[in-house]
Symmetry: D3
Subunit: 340 residues, 6 copies
Amino acid sequence: MTIAAIRGAVKDKAQFAELHAQVEQCTKKEGSNGKPFWELRLRDAADNLTLRVWSDSPNVRVCEELDDADCVAVEGEFYVNGAFGMDARRWELRRLMPDERATLFEGSEADRAKVDEDYAFIERTIAAVRDPRLRALGQRFFEASGARFRRAAAARVNHHARRGGLAQHTAQMMRAAMALCDVYGSLNRDLLAAGVLFHDCGKLWETCPPEEGFAIRPDLRGELMGHINIGVEVVNAMWRELPKADWDGLVPASDDVRLHLIHLILSHHGALEFGSPVLPKTPEAIALHYIDNLDARLEMILQAYATGKEVAPGVYDRVRPLEVGPIAPLPAFFEAGAAE
Amino acid sequence: MTIAAIRGAVKDKAQFAELHAQVEQCTKKEGSNGKPFWELRLRDAADNLTLRVWSDSPNVRVCEELDDADCVAVEGEFYVNGAFGMDARRWELRRLMPDERATLFEGSEADRAKVDEDYAFIERTIAAVRDPRLRALGQRFFEASGARFRRAAAARVNHHARRGGLAQHTAQMMRAAMALCDVYGSLNRDLLAAGVLFHDCGKLWETCPPEEGFAIRPDLRGELMGHINIGVEVVNAMWRELPKADWDGLVPASDDVRLHLIHLILSHHGALEFGSPVLPKTPEAIALHYIDNLDARLEMILQAYATGKEVAPGVYDRVRPLEVGPIAPLPAFFEAGAAE
Amino acid sequence: MTIAAIRGAVKDKAQFAELHAQVEQCTKKEGSNGKPFWELRLRDAADNLTLRVWSDSPNVRVCEELDDADCVAVEGEFYVNGAFGMDARRWELRRLMPDERATLFEGSEADRAKVDEDYAFIERTIAAVRDPRLRALGQRFFEASGARFRRAAAARVNHHARRGGLAQHTAQMMRAAMALCDVYGSLNRDLLAAGVLFHDCGKLWETCPPEEGFAIRPDLRGELMGHINIGVEVVNAMWRELPKADWDGLVPASDDVRLHLIHLILSHHGALEFGSPVLPKTPEAIALHYIDNLDARLEMILQAYATGKEVAPGVYDRVRPLEVGPIAPLPAFFEAGAAE
Amino acid sequence: MTIAAIRGAVKDKAQFAELHAQVEQCTKKEGSNGKPFWELRLRDAADNLTLRVWSDSPNVRVCEELDDADCVAVEGEFYVNGAFGMDARRWELRRLMPDERATLFEGSEADRAKVDEDYAFIERTIAAVRDPRLRALGQRFFEASGARFRRAAAARVNHHARRGGLAQHTAQMMRAAMALCDVYGSLNRDLLAAGVLFHDCGKLWETCPPEEGFAIRPDLRGELMGHINIGVEVVNAMWRELPKADWDGLVPASDDVRLHLIHLILSHHGALEFGSPVLPKTPEAIALHYIDNLDARLEMILQAYATGKEVAPGVYDRVRPLEVGPIAPLPAFFEAGAAE
Amino acid sequence: MTIAAIRGAVKDKAQFAELHAQVEQCTKKEGSNGKPFWELRLRDAADNLTLRVWSDSPNVRVCEELDDADCVAVEGEFYVNGAFGMDARRWELRRLMPDERATLFEGSEADRAKVDEDYAFIERTIAAVRDPRLRALGQRFFEASGARFRRAAAARVNHHARRGGLAQHTAQMMRAAMALCDVYGSLNRDLLAAGVLFHDCGKLWETCPPEEGFAIRPDLRGELMGHINIGVEVVNAMWRELPKADWDGLVPASDDVRLHLIHLILSHHGALEFGSPVLPKTPEAIALHYIDNLDARLEMILQAYATGKEVAPGVYDRVRPLEVGPIAPLPAFFEAGAAE
Amino acid sequence: MTIAAIRGAVKDKAQFAELHAQVEQCTKKEGSNGKPFWELRLRDAADNLTLRVWSDSPNVRVCEELDDADCVAVEGEFYVNGAFGMDARRWELRRLMPDERATLFEGSEADRAKVDEDYAFIERTIAAVRDPRLRALGQRFFEASGARFRRAAAARVNHHARRGGLAQHTAQMMRAAMALCDVYGSLNRDLLAAGVLFHDCGKLWETCPPEEGFAIRPDLRGELMGHINIGVEVVNAMWRELPKADWDGLVPASDDVRLHLIHLILSHHGALEFGSPVLPKTPEAIALHYIDNLDARLEMILQAYATGKEVAPGVYDRVRPLEVGPIAPLPAFFEAGAAE
């Protein structure tokens, strides 16, 4: 079970479970009574947990041999320990087997199938782009950074803040963008598809866990430039390396294509105070901004229904970036006797 | 030609044209030289124009017989008269024929076909709503206020600020909403369709021209309550009158359906400072808010391309509610030899 | 003693007291040592307290039979238990006698006299309204919702956030409103009196404890509509049911009276960002907004003097909605030898 | 007639009138045709008007002898001259007689009676202050600056922006303050009365016309310090000069009284962004802030009804500092057959 | 004389002068009387002026032969023509001689000496940079874009909004930066010097007049990216082309040097809402932000003293980006008998 | 060692140290087990620490005799005790010797030398002021309040929030101001020097510890007026007492000098919302504002490097008033073989 799943399960009463996670840190400390203990911080794709190993526990032996980034199983009884939060008792610690470890990082078979489907949809959409420059740019991106793209998170907190979250967010935005291009015929479909693909590509460096890991550390380039500007640098670098032999005379001009794409990246937060140095000034920039917000906010509210606390019937606890306490959605009307 | 069309045409040089419009006001005034003149304010679906009739003009005779709300043709040479703006010279004034008058209010055949298509799409979508309560509410609205709905504007300024603009805005939002329901399967399609239909229904009273007229006057109820609260009152009033005999035991409960719909109306501006007394707290409220903004902003930028001033190649004059000067859109890539 | 009174008394040293309160929740939990204990959350009109009952305590027997909403007495020694806050030791738990329970909900004789006086003043003021429509509306409100009005709170936090707080706030605002009508002769006294009575009437549903209870739960209608819009719905519903036989030809027109009253409710927060969908546009709306704020802020600062912490001589701890740390008021000048 | 009165009268058609006003500036200029003309800027207590005297007019002779600050009568036909605004034709210019001039500055008998009544009420209220220090301070202020107080304006624009406006604003605030002290018994009546008297006393230097004049010029001290800080300096200067022989042992301490009064002056704008360097931290500071705002806003809306433009039935033109277009007030209910 | 100088001179009375300026546009228009006239828009380094040439003027012949961007002299009598602003009469138009034209673009000898001094100071400072990477980058910039740097403006409005304004702003900031490095010894002098040089280098493309011209047109890249991001692109492009053979093992690492410099460019506006996508996070970024603001604001206030209107003694008209009306500076104390 | 130094040292492992500090409060409390213990709150120039003395400790005897404001040494092993923060074990408490006590308040010899140097620089700069009025004012300030000036803090939190911090902040600002006067020749050097000296002089009363103490208590005058207005009062009071015999005829006029200085004090926060009641309107006011901010922010970021937590390589924990997590500064370039 994941940390989040166990957290959900023990809300009301203690429960036996087996948890697989990565060691973020395992430190030997000294208690106020002078006795040593081990503080074990664990992390999986979407959550983290701290356990203490007292000196008289058989787990001490395992702790002493643990390296940071090792993966472990914790089997025992989980419960809520007052203000300290979720804790475990009568638990046993062991290193994961290689195949368990692989599953921990890549997710279950169902998870992987979902990721593969999302990723394939993004690739198919880019393959269908008619402008050869944007298509080539997208394909170079898949080659150069595909693995990184599959594991990046969309954020350190807020929405899609989990290993693999960025690809999922991008795929869903791509679906919405294509659907809206059918409604708004004047939108430039090629440009918008490229804009969706690259809008957050700076996050492959700003909020990306290591190949075998979950922790996302602040990064010097991310802190000094921000993901929007890393994204521009990344696109510019790939653009320079594209084979441009056949581009002469293409309409619109190649540098205009590049400028419009960079405008989408720069403006997609939609407001200066949210970190976009320019406001959206083209139809595709406007569309991209709203598609991004819509997907992020829907993900946040659905997440709240799944894991948030219901403080009164149908009323959920306040979610920070939504600024509200969500209300349970109105169920679809069910016509008795009709096939749903 | 419409006032806006003529305005576009005379940017560079004077031009002969025939303008059809309604008289907003025709007042006799006295010049600083003591001579009387007539000030004639004209308005059509999307613009207005003031002309002066000097005492020695043959148009004086027509002016003397004009009532406010009469419809007239102005045939002559239009030009830009410095800071005074667009003006006309050597022009002749006459009353419109009944069929010309009808066309003025209902638009050209092409316009009417567009309106009919939009309106029919809205009706079809509501007819396909499965929840009998929301479907009945929508149908009652078409019966009770259909004509008013067809002529209301979406605003007094900004986007869709023209006779018939609200239905067009609503239809396009409905198309976007249905497209996004395919992408986000958990959205309640019935509720969202009803939300789109009713979100601005208060504007049928706040920003609606008379049956035969273009001018939209501030209205006491609109000023004291605002269109959001008029909309809530309108929905509540229709709801009370619905035949509720067969609703017993329907799931979800009828009052929950009503509350969720009213929440969509109240929250669709998305922020307190934009006049929504509550923030969006359900998936459909979030979706409605973004669909509304997306359609409004795309309309504004397309409008700017059509009628705004190009202050430098590809750079348009600042549009107030967009807060930017739009940039000419990137044309779709054209593959020579391929069918577009 | 009330929870707040005990909290005040034990600031410096432990103290014996008898506390009467309602059980909000009584849950059996398990400690980290595996032993069970009971967590008992108590609430009275203005505060709440959590106690723990260890398994070896005689109070366990009482806990096992407690239902939520039962009322209890806690007699023992109260003290401040470090970061855990106020706690009790050597205490005994028992169910309240019926008369004790009644007193808990209705307050002491002095409290009740104060409430009766406030309520009577509101009724008298409405009875003196000359406009028969506003007078009838007010009287219907007393009949339909008087009991609810007597027990509603004015807020869940901030000012008058206690059972019965709304009526007290309304009475004091009514006194201020009548006094200001003497100063500003052009104010419509009838309209302003009705505005004061109804401005927060939506809170009878949004922040109202049950008949025998103190806890105020978030409510679906309150969350989806907000108290301002519930208030409008309530007034509209009562208005429809008023006998209108004798209203023909009354001046001003009845619907104008209704619109102006609804405008007062909608605009009384005074700014969009505080949740009013329209700004005050009439003299009475302006007056109501300031009377409401003045009473709320005076109550908050007086409350801070009574229960807040004095962090330096004459300087009180910061009060959130006031945004400042209050300063002790300047005592009235005392003329020795003169009758005060 | 005053400029404002004539402005109101000529909205619809030209009108003969006699205007009395002071010359703000009378400048000889040269037209584009090379001919000289005189530009005559006139000002009275609440408005201003610019007229042009062409070289062939008999008024030229009068203009040539005019000094700035002279007072004149303009008798002629006033009308609205398009975008230029109100203008006059066929008018005659003459210097005012001494008694006409006196009336121009002091107002009509009715005006003076109103001012005397306001001023007397302020004096009576201060005479009734029981704290000898605040009473002495008020009385010294009347002696030292009474004449200046009678003619100061409350602002250069916005509310009470006219010669004598400050005393009228202060009197009405004083009435409201005394009425609210009856409702809120814990308010320190002496302190609040002094706060009302002195809250804007810096305006006696910042926005005060000369003894015989209407124009209010920006003043170096006003610009460098602001009226709030001038007010503090003025109160501190008067305080130092008070005879303090008998103050020993008075309770509360004299310096505390001074500090609390200065706090009222400093905090009365109620928010840092409105220029108060500290926020209200005492009950009297809170009360003073709301009393000031209430009176200012009521004056603005009543002024709008009197002189603003009605853009639709019952809807007035937007008033800048109110941020709204006022709505006509609901008339008081009239009971036929009853004595009003 | 420059347009601004003449504008200053004619405030009070008409004045003969000879103006040299460039033609921005010369358009033939038709008056309301049907007669043609020419509208001539002129511009020099810091201001612009529109004149009308009537059909009976001898200047018509010159107008007919003018191309946009031609340079002309206007000799005649300048005066203020009411609301139309500054105008001229009895004037003669002629094309400039080649040397007059050169002087128009390059300024007087004194102007050029000032520019040369500023530019030389900047070059010297960069030559003294010890870090070979930042020194090489600066020198490449002088080679590649020196001419453009000398003529760019610092803005289209606000401060240093004139041909050559950017170099002057940069030089003065460089002097301040070097002075502050002496005070704050821990600042990285090399990095700060480079930051000053490049902070606005994107303006060489965003707000740069052509080689022989004054008009600054919006530019597609400027509008889509903003000068901050153009600056980053420019620095990155130059960086890639630097010979890096000898950089191995330099401390600090070369890419860190580049990142820190880019951070200075990105963050120098100091706040997201002013268009910086990241906030200053290093000592040099903090220093650069304040040095930039200090120089810009001092330039604006000195400019206001030079050309702004004095609305009362010592009080100048409000300056938009300063948000205040400047007050005349306090003259330095003059000790009689002492050498100044 | 200071509390802050020990806090830095024990981040990773427990450490023996001797701490000298002042007793802020020593209170006897009772634990949940009924046993008494002593809570000892200690404070030094920049930090504070709470220790508990259990009833069985030999330190109890010392505690029983301690008065608030006594100074003590704590010798023992310091360590981080989980969420409780830094704690000590096996420690011994004793009163400080008189010379240890003196050193605690005055700092080490090196500290005192730094303070003396700063103070001397400020005095020298003021002695060099040429305007006799500003020079006299400065010198009176040194005489009257020098000792207080040496020990005041610049703030209760944020920058320079420590005994003696204000003088250090003032000295560094003075150095920057003098350096910038060399760059900007038009700045009035005398006025700016005086502005730097007095800008925060109100803090000598608002945030000043007692002669022998570290705790800074909120103060009634500070709370009611704010340090800006105390500063104005202090300057005005000293100004009145200056011997003015020789000031006749000095240029600029003496009251203008005073007004300009007061303007610097009032406006130095630079914005209404930061508590300045007027915005900077003179060159010196603009310069003072930026010099103040620059010094404050540089101090904060250098402080963060010294004591903040490094959350990732080169990335420091968020600093509240900077609103960012600082990034490690780029080290100066080191040329191997060259003398640094």
